[in-house]
């Protein structure tokens, strides 16, 4: 065996060898980190951003799905078809709305753009969760039926509310305070979604009546006396332990710095406490309360109650407005306290405030989509009632409930006391001047039954006069219909 000895000149030291790659290691790990960031961001997009992106108004991905799916059916909670797509023999698809005008705004339309629930459920209606196996059975035509959406709306209740509102322009909202389910939502003037294509031009060019606007969620009205619910709450918080002792002698008029507030029809309410002022909707007493309120606290109460904020609903809606400067004059304070001033709110928002009182101070998020199911009826997903937050204490809710019940028992909404259910509420007669025309919007918001509230109803009848004249009878029909449908 021959062995040769080798000597390496300049043999590198191991330390050098290890050190040689440090910089490459740094570079490698830096870039590996960058790759991992990319993955992390993709995961983030998929978990937290997908919902927003999919429901973005700019998202037109669904248009592509129209070639693959037949738009799904919308069903009411009691099983009526509210919207469905019929496929004609020549393959043409027609969207049919059996209830025509009654659900015009809340269900909306799906041609000439989309609105209402047709827009909100677009993705569900244009996708299918039928298993791939059963999908092939209807392979005859290449299109699959999209999933069905079952809404919380009750067709009977909606019809009654629609008829009750009659020829008034305005809105009716009915919802369950303990779940947030919207059972009826009417807006007038209305249109027939079956023929929307034909009348589209005239609808969009007509600026005066804004037929396409869903007044229940997008109409902004001065709340009038219904706003006194919040004024009372603010006063209760301002003077804890003292508000029960509030006394005011109403002489039907109060004048401070050239601003005069009158009680409606110049009624003289005489000596009254807070409960009495509330139930008789005494403007002068509330004007006095308005001056006693700390503006900033009042603002914060209203903003907590979702004024100047987006409501926690998926439906398209307007933001209610409440404007009161910190250094507002007495006049502004007085008008704001009685719900005139610059305050504007939507009927849905009004219903939500009453629902908070009815539900012991907790606001449930209103919703319309009860569940999604395949066209064969297999459940895909259900909406669970979800709590927005506690907005007032149980005690505050109890007192407001008591005041609202007093309105029905001895105040401005006594008509509601004639039936076999207990009710509580607040009327409003909101004066407005629009285009040189003066008038009074008729408001009512309330709930039944008082011990364990089942239903909240908010009604606005444009230029309908006082709340007790017009809005209360409309609401009473809705309450009666509710109990005839669901039983007491």
């Amino acid at each position: 065996m021959r062995v040769k000895e080798v000597r390496f000149e300049q043999e590198p030291e191991p330390v050098q060898s290890g050190g040689r790659n440090t910089e490459l290691g740094i570079v490698t790990y830096t870039f590996v980190f960058l790759f991992l960031i990319m993955i992390g961001y993709l995961v983030y997009l998929n978990i937290w951003k997908v919902k927003d992106l999919n429901s973005s108004v700019y998202n037109t991905k669904d248009i592509a799905n129209m070639d693959k799916y037949i738009r799904g059916t919308i069903l009411s909670a009691d099983g009526s078809v509210l919207a469905q797509t019929d496929v004609l023999d020549d393959g043409e698809e027609v969207r049919v709305y059996p209830f025509a005008n009654k659900f015009a705004h809340i269900i909306g339309y799906a041609t000439n753009g989309q609105s209402g629930l047709e827009a909100a459920c677009n993705k569900e209606l244009l996708s299918s969760h039928v298993s791939a196996l059963s999908r092939q059975e209807d392979e005859g035509d290449t299109k699959t039926r999209g999933d069905s959406v079952v809404v919380t709306l009750n067709a009977n209740l909606q019809s009654v509310a629609y008829d009750a509102l009659g020829s008034y322009n305005g809105a009716v909202v009915a919802l369950e305070p303990d779940t947030g389910k919207i059972l009826a939502m009417v807006s007038k003037p209305d249109f027939d979604p079956n023929t929307i294509g034909e009348v589209w031009e005239s609808l969009v060019t007509d600026n005066t009546s804004s037929v396409l606007l869903n007044r229940a969620t997008q109409g902004l009205y001065p709340p009038g006396s219904t706003f006194k619910i919040l004024t009372t709450l603010a006063y209760m918080r301002q003077k804890p332990g003292e508000f029960q002792n509030f006394q005011y002698d109403c002489i039907s008029q109060i004048t401070v710095n050239d601003v005069t507030i009158n009680c409606y029809n110049n009624t003289v309410h005489g000596q009254e406490d807070l409960k009495g002022a509330f139930s008789h909707s005494c403007n002068t007493a509330f004007a006095k309360i308005g001056m006693d309120l700390d503006n900033e606290d009042f603002i914060s109460v209203c903003e907590e109650f979702l004024f100047n904020r987006s409501l926690p609903v998926t439906l398209q809606h307007s933001t209610s407005q409440f404007n009161l400067n910190r250094d507002a004059s007495y006049g502004e304070q007085m008008t704001t306290a009685i719900g005139q001033g610059e305050t504007l709110m939507t009927p849905l928002h009004m219903a939500m405030i009453a629902a908070t009182v009815a539900n012991g101070g907790i606001l449930m998020k209103p919703y319309c989509i009860d569940r999604v199911q395949t066209w064969e009826g297999d459940l895909v997903s259900t909406t669970k009632p979800s709590r927005y937050k506690r907005l007032m204490t149980e005690e505050e809710a109890r007192i407001l409930k008591e005041y609202m019940q007093e309105t029905v028992l001895n105040g401005t909404a006594t008509e509601l006391g004639w039936y076999n259910f207990t009710a509580a509420g607040k009327t409003g007669s909101a004066e407005y001047i629009s285009g040189g025309q003066e008038g009074t919007h008729s408001w009512f918001v309330g709930f039944s039954d008082v011990a364990d509230p089942d239903l909240v109803v908010a009604v606005i009848a444009e230029n309908g006069g006082t709340g007790s004249q017009t809005a209360v009878p409309i609401a009473s029909q809705v309450f009666q219909a509710y109990y005839s449908i669901y039983g007491n």
Partner: protein, 528 residues
């Protein structure tokens, strides 16, 4: 029935991709060469299976018979690349070859889905590019001087970019490409490679500050021209690549810090100076502010990703065509929409695996110049991937660069394949030297002194083939303490990630090719 197949295929494709990706990383745990070989074969099978499933769906959906022929041609092509690279270059990194084919394969599937016409064009370019790429390792091995003409490269690079800035046609607001005989060429894709060689040459012996200043100045000229041409993506790639190479060459973190600082200042300056930079940043901040205008592309990209969700809509079930430039700049979003974000994540991991192999090869290289080239090319690859994926997901502002090998684009395809081939060439050079060095040890330790046979040496490689006789007679092929067996710990050529034992052959018999000779040359010129 078709619906059923499409639904099943969606998950099958995802599963195959996930398995493939997993193996890209489990390979590092294997020490046994044979086991690795099998793993690489399994990866190839997964790829072909995925390719088959995808094209079956495409055939069913597009119902075009020529698609079957096209599929056959692609299978032949992919198989040929695997066989040719694998056999002609036994020392090449199999993982890199596999990844290269996998990415090309995904590209074929998606470009075919987006536009059959474009994909045929893409396929032709891929075939031609692969032939070119196949020659690159030979060129690198045989004609080493070609890699050393860095001054020429600097001039060529700046010249080409300058020409683009002056004469190129404007596409989507940027001056990027030339029309040559009906084919649109994007010179910056090639200058990228030349740039890496140029900077590597300038920085290899950059021990004095003067040289660094020169290199920095030249790099800055490249970047500036690109910014003026509004090719921001390429500008960023060049910039980061230079910084990384400077750091590796000097090991001085302060240069990087200074670079990042001045880069940031320049970026802010560019934001205020150039409208097109501002537009990109605005669209990134809120794509929906000017949705009908500048935000449209990124908006559509995000909608595509969200429409796909985790598992995608399935091939041909989404509408990725709605994204402007889906096949080029927005390929990643198109993939996420139809094949799913899980697939997208796997894709990023495969790209990462490519980069890790680039870095790994750089670590194994003992020659400073080649190390810098490998690092530089790896960096351009990684940065480009980051820009296109990050841009599509709105992680960073959109810059409009392609996803290498996957996106549609001839220049990008050719330059990326060349890049991969160069790194393979460098890797093989290193392994040549390792085996030569090994042989010297064998000579030293062998009882047959100098007549050792090394199984991995290809015939006719050495200029003086001293071992040819021994190989033919088989004399001396039996065990010498296992020194010549690959994978016995002496060297571990494939898939080892991290610092490794390195063997220096700088004093070997063929010193003519050693870098220190050039160092001497450099010293002389410097003295002049």
């Amino acid at each position: 029935m078709i619906n059923l197949i499409i639904q099943i295929s969606k998950y099958l494709i995802l599963l195959l991709m996930a398995l493939y990706t997993l193996q890209c990383f489990t390979v590092f745990r294997l020490k046994d060469e044979e086991a690795k070989g099998y793993l690489f074969l399994r990866q190839n099978m997964l790829m072909f299976f995925m390719h088959f499933v995808a094209f079956m769906v495409l055939y069913l959906e597009l119902s075009e018979t020529t698609i079957l022929l096209f599929y056959g041609a692609q299978v032949l092509y992919l198989a040929a690349v695997l066989v040719l690279f694998g056999n002609l270059y036994r020392k090449a990194s199999r993982l890199l070859i596999n990844n290269m084919c996998m990415l090309t394969c995904i590209g074929f599937i998606m470009v075919t889905r987006l536009s059959y016409e474009q994909s045929v064009k893409q396929f032709k370019i891929a075939v031609l590019s692969s032939i070119v790429a196949l020659l690159i390792p030979v060129i690198i091995r045989k004609l080493r001087f070609i890699t050393r003409m860095y001054w020429a490269y600097t001039l060529l690079g700046i010249g080409m970019l300058g020409l683009v800035a002056i004469a190129a046609r404007v596409t989507y607001g940027a001056k990027i490409s030339f029309e040559v005989g009906g084919i649109s060429v994007q010179p910056s894709e090639f200058v990228k490679i030349i740039f890496v060689f140029a900077i590597a040459g300038l920085l290899t012996h950059a021990r004095d500050f003067r040289r660094i200043v020169i290199a920095t100045g030249l790099a800055a000229v490249h970047v500036l021209i690109l910014v003026i041409s509004k090719d921001l993506g390429s500008a960023l790639i060049f910039f980061v690549t230079y910084l990384v190479m400077l750091f590796v060459a000097t090991r001085n973190p302060f240069y990087v810090l200074a670079g990042v600082l001045s880069g940031s200042v320049a970026a802010v300056g560019a934001y205020f100076l150039f409208g097109h930079v501002r537009v990109r940043v605005e669209a990134w901040k809120n794509p929906f502010k000017d949705y009908q205008g500048d935000g449209y592309q990124i908006g559509q990209s995000l909608f595509a990703i969200s429409a796909g969700g985790w598992f995608g809509t399935g091939l041909c079930q989404g509408s990725p065509g709605a994204i402007p430039l889906a096949a080029q700049d927005m390929m990643f979003s198109a993939i996420c929409e139809e094949l799913g974000c899980v697939f997208g994540i796997c894709l990023i991991l495969v790209c990462m695996s490519c980069f890790i192999m680039f870095a790994n090869i750089a670590m194994q290289l003992t020659n400073r110049y080649y190390r810098l080239v490998a690092v530089g090319l790896g960096t351009t690859y990684a940065v480009q991937t980051f820009l296109t994926v990050g841009g599509a997901t709105k992680l960073i502002p959109l810059t409009g660069v392609t996803l290498p090998l996957v996106s549609y684009g001839g220049s990008s395809m050719l330059s990326t394949l060349i890049m991969f081939a160069i790194v393979q060439g460098l890797y093989m050079l290193q392994r040549d030297e390792e085996s030569k060095a090994e042989k010297r040890i064998q000579e030293a330790w062998s009882p047959y002194h100098g007549e050792a046979n090394y199984t991995g040496v290809q015939e006719g490689y050495y200029e003086d083939d001293r071992y040819a006789e021994a190989r033919e007679t088989g004399y001396g092929s039996e065990g010498r303490n296992g020194w010549d067996e690959p994978g016995n710990g002496f060297y571990d050529p494939d898939g080892y990630f991290g610092p490794r034992y390195e063997y220096y052959a700088d004093d070997g018999p063929d010193y003519r090719e050693r870098p220190y000779q050039e160092e001497r040359y450099d010293e002389k010129t410097r003295r002049k």
